[in-house]
Amino acid sequence: MNFDFSDDARELQAQARKFFDAEAGPDSARRVMNDDDIAFDEGMWQGVVELGLTALRVPEEHGGLGLGAEEACLIAEEVGRSLAPVPLMSTMLFTEALLAAGTEAQKAAWLPRIADGSVIGCVGWGEGGTQVPTSMPNARMTKSGLTGMKAPIADATIAHVGIFTGARTAGPGLFLVEFDQDAVQVEAVTTLDLVRQHGRVTLKDARAEAMGGADAYGDFLDKAAVLSAFEAIGTQDAAMVMAIDYARDRVAFGQRIGRYQGVKHKAADMYIKQQLARAHAMHGAWAFEVDAPELRQAAAAARTAALDALAFTAEENVQLHGGIGFTWESNCQFYYRRSRALSAALGSRGFWSDRLVRTLERRNAAAA
């Protein structure tokens, strides 16, 4: 038995972490937040591409590194931890959608350009309302093209291509849309996350290529949930470390506040929630890697647990900091805001916990 990441994957993670420790973190997030003219850090993005992080999951035949899910998961964790203002998660999700649901021609067309960093991708199911990821999209594919509105789409304003859910006669499916056409309008939308820019993509009979249908989408959704769970755990861990560091230093009533059980037990709860989420996420990484039937339940559990851990930690990190944590100057806000972004990114907690129970029911019924 070996329920741990491979040494190679850990090594890659360490490299990425070193890079992001130096380049990213709250300060870089703040720079992007404060400058309305930039949507991401282009210099950092070059570094990300040079490190091979966009090429990770691209098969060697398409010019990539052909690495597995483990590596992708650990990189997602580092993106989450560092808040790196680059479109890496979007591009990774685009890559997974292409791998799960793309035709050979689509893969051949896009994967090499993902690998070499010349293309930024994005994905999205949201339509600005209260839909969940698997509800029938309003965006519609007809003979004349794809028509509808997609929002909020992370990094859409800087992406060259996107994969969106849409409805067609045969049912829901995925569609690949190049942004460089008149039928596609992209504009920035304001969200609760002031660092990761989101866009609204308006499609009017846009050229769009059909990809796989509901099954491929479901498979993609599970894999995306595992990646997003790792991202959330990374963000959560950074918030937890921030809280603990503060609790070790800050003094009130003559002692460091970390001595008070009110603080200590909260920190322990952050850790407990993280460990549970991490165990499920690792289970998901394994199922993703080996294409195990447990993927769906592991993904749903991982995402539910990770969102819970992150929301709790982001909130209590502010609380442990007291007044200073509530200021604009404090870095607490990045975790607080990102928690909302990750929750909305792929369907919120309620959607995933229900999906988890449905999967468990199906498994129980099959076993009976």
């Binding site: 609760l192 009533f253 909130e315 007291g322 909305a344």
Partner: protein, 405 residues
Amino acid sequence: MDFNDSPEEAKIREGVRAWIAEHTAEYEGLPAPASNEEYVARQRSWQKKKYDGGYAGITWPKKFGGQGKGPMESIIFSQEEGKSAAPTGLYAIGLGMCIPTVFTHGSQDVIDRFVPKALDGDEIWCQLFSEPAAGSDLAGIRTKAEKDGDEWVINGQKVWTTNAHLCDYGIIVTRTDPGAPKHKGLTMFIVDMRDPGVECRPLKQMSGGSDFNEVFFDDVRVPDSWRLGAEGEGWKAALTTLMNERLAVGGKPRYSPDWSTLMAVAKEIETALGPASEQADVRDQIAQAYINDQGVKLTQQRSLSALSQGKTPGAEQSISKVVVAKQMQDISRFALDISESAGFMAAAEGSELAKLQGSYFGSAGLRIAGGTDEILRNIIAERVLGLPGDLRPPKDTPFNEIEAL
């Protein structure tokens, strides 16, 4: 039990209502003030009317210019004022907290100089207590005041000061004897907020708004006659102020979401199984929100009722803020969650969703302001339930010799 006014209360309310109706007509339907000056002018005009009408300082002793009436008169006036278009808020801290401290601890000269001009709205006051290193542990104050002849020279920094930039005067707690034990070396003064050595900077919150200030003091001189209470007795004076704060803090901010906001939002969310408001988990949240929101309101009614009966309220109200703030955060998070994408994108101004988004940020601050959840639980456990206090360093250690453990 009777939720209605007693005949006496009804009579008071009738008079108040008529007076308010007559005097607030000019504020009906006004747009929000376009500038600080307009804001201050509007607030001041209302305070003047109250002063002229005999509704300022309702419970204050007559010798300080008050009306010398009971708490019920004051409660009824606030209730009716709250329902009207009257522009309130700017004077709450000054008249609710600062001036009662001034007339409790100030000399007769100081009282004569400051109290009337505060009551009629001429001069606006703020409270300068919190510091970066003195939040929950308020007595950890480091802003220092040093005696120089008949004057004191103040240097240091305060933070979380509401409306500092609009105020004329403030009450400030300073450390005058760093060699005395922590609670013994403090002294309170009146300070002129227009002094050139006073600099107010707006403090931006994580929500983006700026409701508070940082205030810096650079060689600000105040006469010894502006001292409130004896030298070294600043903590005692501060307790007077805080006692009044505890009465003021606790309610829910106006326009904050409650159980009915969640119900309204959930009714509009279509799920595969009908409106989200029919799902058991959403219903459970609504029920919990009602229990908390309405429970706090009813608890406050219990306190008001005791006041109106001439009794001293119990410790019931101590739970108010600790319940309200966390409930706001929980309900906001939950509502934003079930709203999926819509809950994450900036919602249309004035919408229920926008209220919930604002409240998700605001509640994080409310859980801290005026005593954190943790401090309030300590207070409830120690003062209400009689549990012993946390271990602390010895009370008699000189402030400048306290080592953090």
